[in-house]
Amino acid sequence: MTLKRVLPPAITLILLIAGWQLYTSVSGVDTWLLPSPADIGEAGLLQREALTDHTLATAELTVYGFGAGVATGLLVAVLLHLIPVVRAAVYPLLVISQNVPVIAIAPLLVVWLGFGLAPKIVVIILVCFFPVAVATLDGLRRSDPLIADYLLMSGANRRQLFTKLQWPHALPTMFSGLKIAATYSVFGAIVSEWLGAEKGIGQYMMIQKSAFRADRMFVAIGIVIVLALVIFGLVVLLEKLTVKGRRGD
């Protein structure tokens, strides 16, 4: 079953890489413009020590940022859910605010917060919190009104209604938000490192760009993909461990 699902995309990927390799060797395109997969693999192996350092730095930043972003998102969701006035006042603005590209605010954050960890974390929070907040808020609001009636008639107070019904009901939707935020967080980390960093895959990319080392930039892209997949996988694992039973109707 799993093999059936994994095999088709794996074959597609292998064919793509093989086609790429074939094209580069047949067309004789310059390596600095389009390196072959073999070139990229070699570049990655040669740079592995430096890359390990950079990867760890980015991973650390991503985890901090993701954690802070998720915490912010959950806090916003719970506040907006529990206080309808705040919800009415803030929610529409929150949606509109998502039209502001984070990359446009990022330089401003550097002006305010400098080149340290703080502006980078804020960038990741900004890209992460929204999907988590919206998904969780939706889950909190859409709990079964029949069960809510039952709980109230059984004498449940507002706190019990939240902890026993609304929060557990919101978990699956919250995880949908978390999965989106997981991939966004790596993106946020890379962008924030472009702004200026001593270490990290984003900073590495900027240096290789100046040197026209396309092969090394491809290695960096590969690492970004793997990082995103790992964080995504961790979220899925956590979901499997916490979400029990079948939801919905």
Binding site: L152, M153, S154, G155, A156, K164, K244, G245, R246
Partner: protein, 246 residues
């Protein structure tokens, strides 16, 4: 003086301009099984929401065990099982106990075995059939340890065969435990088979057309439905509900 499990006096309620319940009085004595039959949409569920304290009556009084009705005083079983899909059966059963303080999982497991659900304590609701889910919902109401159980058309979503099975099941449990029950249904036969007393409700706004005392002995046997007296009673209530001349 014996305190009634439920006493409803001169109750009227409306939603905005729409009168739903009009001047209803009824009682459920301790250990009595009382049914309300009425057409769909005759305000029966509203009555439960009033008794359960979800709504405040516009006029009249409701008291449960001699105390003015408020939330947390009845064991309630809704029309749909309304089980929490993320909780195991056992955790669902103890829900109402949990709300009031202490959940007794041992007792829950014992009861699950007693009602033919042994081996399902750790299952999730979606793994159970509709009839089994309703048993769980009933058990949840029963184990709330409230002296009054309010059952709101609990079997209306079940197929005819399962429904018959559930009648037998409910009669057995109830006759062994004798809790005061208020049972709402639109099924006349169901009401007569299960109850000591049946109130017949009119169309909206609901008024009481008639109070019928059901004369058959307990424990009730399934074949009571073939008794000529039963057939006659069923005919009379059907005419009453459909408005046909008597």
């Amino acid at each position: 003086m014996v305190t009634e499990a439920l006493s409803v006096r001169d109750l009227s309620h409306s939603f905005g301009d729409l009168p739903v319940i009009s001047d209803i009085s009824l009682t459920v004595a301790a250990g009595e099984f009382v049914s309300i039959v009425g057409p769909s949409g005759s305000g029966k569920s509203t009555l439960f929401h009033l008794i359960g304290g979800l709504l405040t009556p516009a006029k009249g009084e409701i008291s449960v065990n001699g105390v003015k009705a408020r939330r947390g005083m009845i064991g309630y079983m809704p029309q749909q099982p309304a089980l929490m899909p993320w909780r195991t059966i056992e955790a669902n059963v103890v829900l109402s106990q949990e709300i009031r303080g202490k959940a007794d999982r041992m007792q829950a497991r014992e009861w699950l075995a007693r009602v033919g659900l042994d081996g399902f304590a750790r299952s999730y609701p979606h793994q159970l059939s509709g009839g089994m889910q309703q048993r769980v919902a009933f058990l949840r109401a029963l184990l709330s340890d409230q002296p009054l159980l309010c059952l709101d058309e609990p079997f209306s979503a079940l197929d005819a065969m399962t429904r018959l099975e559930m009648h037998r099941w409910l009669l057995d449990i109830w006759e062994a435990n004798r809790r005061a029950v208020l049972f709402v249904t639109h099924n006349i036969e169901e009401a007569l088979l299960l109850s000591d007393t049946v109130y017949v409700f009119s169309r909206r706004p609901a008024t009481i057309l008639e109070k019928v005392t059901v004369p058959f002995d307990r424990p009730r046997r399934d074949d009571v439905v073939d008794d000529p007296a039963f057939v006659k009673l069923r005919r009379r209530l059907t005419d009453l509900l459909t408005g046909a001349p008597r």
